[in-house]
């Protein structure tokens, strides 16, 4: 996703001289093309994320469209107050790019996990929050939003290969993407963990359970119409996110269910406890938190045994 995102950014930067890229000393083998092509519009600011966002604020006030880049928690949590008082409050076109959203840096421990980035940003009304599901969508999402007013957060995955087949890279601001059209259960997935939702769907199909997958790649503004319209056809909804269950997608869907008086039961698949210090592959950590396709399918099967499915 990172390659596609920055390849697209390079194309856009050829068209618009306002695009500027800042990194807090991360992005080896990811930012070189931009840096080599536009050396005057690229800056490694050093390991100083707060200053990076402050600099971006000053640059944006003067008309630039600065992108800040580092690993998700460093891009959001360390400079959070700078993001809030700077680009959000001033409504400036700063783009915060966080790589490895979720637990992609699975062996690096909690410091590198982006499992609360959406939660802390979602409370801020003045920032667009995007969570592309695959590299194709990372590219289309950037093309659709790079020059919108106000700040944007792009939560990127390191996965440059996998695609969500039926999605075809489609992205629309304020909309969700829907794939599969099963009638038994609605799985709502946040960004790149959609791949696990797809695996769960394949497993469930073998057991005669048919799912619809709704991909939320635009968290703010939330795709409320799509969510309400789709959820109203289901009795049972499962949210899947590489994020704490509080503050992220599960919270968003809960809010929508209550605000719109929907009558569906819901299970949140996400991270429920502070990580316990055990490291491993992403799949291993996903499994610990019930986020593999197999674990998601298991939860759904257990639930479905106990309810009458269709509305």
């Amino acid at each position: 996703m990172r390659k596609a995102f920055f390849n697209t950014l390079v194309e856009l930067a050829h068209q618009d001289e306002r695009i500027f890229l800042l990194t807090a000393d991360l992005g080896y083998m990811a930012l070189e093309t931009f840096a080599d092509t536009f050396p005057k519009r690229f800056l490694n600011v050093g390991v100083a994320e707060q200053n990076m966002v402050g600099l971006a604020t000053g640059l944006a006030e003067a008309g630039y469209i600065p992108f800040t880049y580092t690993i998700a928690p460093f891009s959001v949590l360390r400079p959070y107050e700078f993001i809030r008082n700077g680009p959000i409050y001033h409504q400036l076109s700063v783009r915060i790019v966080g790589i490895g959203g979720g637990i992609e840096y699975s062996k690096d421990g909690i410091a590198h996990y982006g499992i609360d980035d959406i939660g802390v940003l979602r409370v801020q009304p003045g920032i667009t929050i995007l969570t592309p599901a695959d590299y194709e969508q990372a590219s289309t999402a950037l093309s659709a939003t790079w020059n919108i007013p106000g700040p944007v957060y792009y939560r990127l995955s390191k996965d440059d290969k996998s695609v969500v087949k039926e999605m075809n890279g489609h992205f629309e601001l304020g909309r969700a993407q829907i794939i599969d059209k099963g009638k038994d259960v609605l799985i709502i997935a946040l960004g790149s963990i959609t791949h696990e939702a797809v695996k769960a769907t394949d497993i469930l199909r073998q057991h005669g359970i048919f799912s619809t997958i709704m991909i939320v790649s635009c968290v703010s503004p939330p795709p409320i119409h799509d969510i309400v319209d789709t959820m109203s056809r289901f009795k049972f909804v499962v949210t899947v996110e590489a994020h704490y269950i509080i503050g992220g997608l599960g919270s968003l869907i809960s809010e929508i269910i209550v605000e719109h008086g929907l009558s569906c039961s819901m299970i949140k698949c996400g991270i429920r406890n502070t990580p316990n210090g055990v490291c491993g592959s992403q799949n291993f950590i996903y499994d610990m938190h019930g986020l593999t396709g197999e674990r998601i399918a298991e939860v759904i099967r257990n639930k479905i045994d106990n309810i009458s499915l269709r509305k």
């Binding site: 200053n51 966002v53 604020t57």
Partner: protein
């Protein structure tokens, strides 16, 4: 009630407006505002090149110690960028002139209020000016207590490394912070040495000598070399005897009697001709 017939920026009028606004609003931060009144007077009378607050090529000013905003509001009023109604509505319900400056107010480039942020905004603004081949300059006013903030030093390092000579910081060195004297809370003395060690050009000056402030700033090399910092030695509560050097006047509002005494003392410091 603030009403100045022939508006022009001067130390006297800035101090007078600080007292008038603070008394009417029954609010504090008076000592902090008086501490920077002469610096603000210098900047807005003869330093900042701002043909209009909307001119994209204007000099930028960041009041990073945002809690002294009433001093800045006074200057903006004296420049004619905010109206008499606005200045007299300071702190009232619905006013945009709050304790800390907001960029929605004409003449304010960046909202501040959380210490340790303003210099990074200013460094970004200075970098932008350089990239755009503009001769505009950026001035950031920070407090000495603000130098406790680690984030400030991130920006100090950055500006020195990138030789942002178009960036000038003024440190309001009054030796006080909210709950105590700076050398007792977190001692950074001598502060000039700290900035010098970070490779800034350092100028130790009297922060109440407006002529000297203007002269020093005009003498700076803004084309090449290191960024410049004026370590401005100031007195918190300057020119009001019962406020000077007193921690209480970081937050405390004035009684009627204190206001009258403060007015008399300020007026006593200046020639009748400018009153």
């Amino acid at each position: 009630m603030v009403q100045v017939k022939n508006r022009h920026v001067s130390s006297y009028w800035i101090k007078r407006i600080i007292l008038d606004c603070s008394k009417r609003a029954n609010t504090g931060h008076i000592g902090s505002a008086l501490s920077i009144a002469d610096i603000i007077a210098a900047l807005y009378s003869d330093v900042l090149k701002i043909s209009s607050p909307k001119d994209p090529d204007r000099d930028r000013f960041v009041l990073s110690k945002g809690h002294a905003a009433v001093a800045l509001y006074a200057a903006l009023y004296l420049k004619g960028w905010i109206s008499e109604d606005e200045i007299n509505n300071y702190h009232n319900d619905g006013s945009t002139l709050g304790v800390h400056p907001d960029h929605k107010v004409s003449g304010i480039d960046f909202s501040t209020g959380s210490l340790g942020m303003g210099l990074s905004f200013g460094a970004g603004a200075a970098l932008a000016a350089r990239l755009q081949n503009s001769s505009r300059r950026v001035f950031v006013l920070v407090s000495d207590g603000e130098c406790n903030e680690g984030s400030l030093w991130e920006s100090v390092i950055f500006a020195a490394h990138h030789k942002l000579s178009n960036l000038t910081v003024i440190v309001d060195l009054n030796g006080q912070q909210a709950l105590g004297y700076t050398d007792e809370v977190l001692n950074l003395s001598p502060l000039a040495n700290r900035w010098n060690a970070f490779d800034w050009n350092v100028y130790d000056i009297d922060g109440h000598d407006t002529s000297k402030i203007i002269e020093t700033i005009k003498s700076l090399n803004t084309q090449t070399g290191q960024p410049n910092v004026l370590i401005a030695h100031t007195v918190c509560g300057k020119d009001v005897s019962f406020m000077e050097h007193r921690i209480k006047w970081h937050y405390w509002p004035m009684s009627d009697a204190e206001y009258q005494q403060a007015l008399e003392e300020i007026e006593g410091k200046y020639e009748k001709s400018i009153l």
